[in-house]
Point group: C2
Chain length 344, copies 2
DNA sequence: CTGTTAGCGCTTTCAG
DNA sequence: CTGAAAGCGCTAACAG
């Protein structure tokens, strides 16, 4: 039966046990240069024997004003992030970087009531997409801890983005030919919590929201090719998942006249459209062309591969974390790459 | 230009501004019953005007010994968790529950050096699988914060499990017929960091590790049907992902004599085997039968559906969080369900 | 119902 | 190189 300490020892306990001052013990742990090697060794050894593992972190946080915890504020619920391949990759990148710097990750849902629960002890924020709850945006903007925003801009904070306008323009341009009938399956374009066509509902108004920029890119391309997007040819899905994607895919594919180019704002949607087309015996790309966005690995595990825009979400995560940890002042625009598959 | 506070106000500042005591301000925020409604309103209003958003959390944590942060310690790196559908679902369940209780989530990698960085201020631990770094296991076991373990047991801590032996026994029993040639594709059975067959390497020795129990279940079923698993017919994969699964799948399907039953320790593996079989023009289930484990949603999005064992990882997460938050002393065994698909 | 006060456990000047 | 002492910002007795 190992001795079970009910309560942890404190620095003070150790100091009095060793007949020295608390400062010296503290220095032994935090500032080795402040005392002789011999004494330090002796103290550390004694601590180990006493079962004192080091200064209490809660006290350290208060005293130093630093916790080594970074909050990643998601656009949505944590559940959502954890199922979305793009968001997952982003987190992956962030955690790689945090790990290198011995920082820890607090995941914060963007639909939380308030950021106040953590604002005081967290060392900084990485906001991945504009939080669904607008209050958080204000709270984050009105405080003094460093912030890096990703995929959107917030005041004068440092940000990481890709050029969504250009990227979506390019992929659409690649797909479109004169006389095409275009449909767009969008992501979180309006506030609705369900899949639907967009007629005249106001678009969600977040400064430079990713999906709106993609929409602009598409529309620009459509325009340049001399086409128009017919009323009722833009779909909204509330979340990037199979369920909503399938609903939209079936609506689009079963609409008449059937569009022959479907511009999808994510690969997940594009893949679902591809599956549905197969089920409905619609030939891709001869009867319907499809483009995606993101370049997730699954887009090259389906046949034909999805034509899409690749962006490195892992890199995005790494970059965001790096900027935050370096206290950099320079926002950054990451590159994207057209990825030609067999769906156009 | 909004007034930017460089430094936050403290309770004391507010108290002196309002010519009252700090205790009263504190009570206004924490214990409404300790002062008149009128005074409380007045204080709260004044705080808002002053720009004081409430007591500093870092100080509160130290003082109250409570942070409302729960650490989820993963078996592996955070990156890994975030890509694995089973682990993601688990996190989903945990976060649902935490949200209901206004707790926050700190993700902790199981391959971290030490748990000390967070041990002092976190309110408790949920360990999802035995952390890869054994030191963490000891550290977690040798401290006083509440712990709930999932998919493994640790000392006398409360745990959440499913009956892996029985589940794997059942699914194998369903698949196996006399004269079958059996192969098993396992998950993290040995320490190796690459895909390989297992001959006589020692199995990873973690108390009641999930995958070993599954192995036992399989072997029991094989035995009961009067078969044996030939030497070299058990494969090890280090992580539950497409890459390793594919390596193992191809090795198995290209081995001669080719096994006609492949028992896979995860659906992800089973699905990859199915894909590879298709590529190699091997008929499933006539030439090769496949079983999976977990019952992830993708297992019913492939044709034929995977025959597998369904376990609710979301429920597991919810349960684990619930036990921790309730301070329950009762471990729990969640149910599983055979899910018959077309792969056997 | 309100105010005073002693810490929570630690770090960091600043004298010695 | 060492030790005494002043807080970090807050809460919870406790006394009034």
């Amino acid at each position: 039966m190992p001795t079970q300490r009910r309560r942890n020892l404190t620095l003070k306990d150790v100091a009095s046990a060793l007949k020295t001052s608390t400062a010296t013990i503290s220095n032994a742990f935090n500032r080795p240069d402040q005392l002789s090697v011999a004494k330090r060794e002796k103290i550390l050894l004694a601590c180990k024997e006493l079962g004192y593992a080091g200064p209490n972190k809660a006290a350290q946080i208060l005293r130093k004003g630093k916790s080594n915890i970074i909050a990643v504020v998601l656009a949505d619920s944590i559940e959502y992030m954890v199922t979305d391949p793009v968001a997952s990759s982003f987190i992956k990148g962030v955690t790689q970087m945090l790990k290198e710097h011995q920082k820890h990750l607090l995941l914060y849902a963007g639909d939380s009531e308030s950021i106040r629960d953590v604002i005081d002890f967290v060392d900084g924020f990485i906001c991945y997409g504009a939080p669904r709850n607008n209050k958080l945006i204000e709270q984050i903007n009105g405080q003094y801890k460093p912030v890096v925003t990703v995929d959107f801009n917030l005041g004068s904070n440092v940000s990481v983005n890709i050029d969504n306008d250009t990227a979506s323009y390019e992929v659409a341009k690649l797909a479109l030919k004169p006389n095409d009938r275009v449909a767009i399956i969008g992501l979180r374009l309006i506030e609705a919590n369900h899949t639907c066509r967009i007629y005249d509902a106001p678009l969600i108004d977040v400064e430079h929201c990713v999906t709106h920029r993609r929409l602009e890119g598409y529309l620009k391309a459509v325009d340049e090719v001399g086409l128009v997007v017919e009323t009722g040819s833009i779909w909204h899905t509330p979340e990037n998942n199979h369920k909503y994607a399938r609903q939209a895919a079936l609506e689009v594919l079963n609409s008449r006249p059937r569009p022959n180019v479907i511009l999808c704002m994510s690969d997940l949607i594009a893949i679902e459209v591809l599956h549905c087309a197969r089920e409905l015996k619609i030939d891709v790309p001869n009867e319907v062309k499809i483009t995606g966005f993101d370049g997730i690995s699954e887009s090259t595990r389906v046949q034909p591969h999805i034509t899409t825009v690749y962006q490195s979400s892992v890199e995005k995560g790494r970059k965001a974390a790096k900027l935050l940890l370096n206290g950099s002042e320079e926002s950054c625009m990451l590159s994207h790459k057209l990825q030609k598959g067999g769906t156009i």
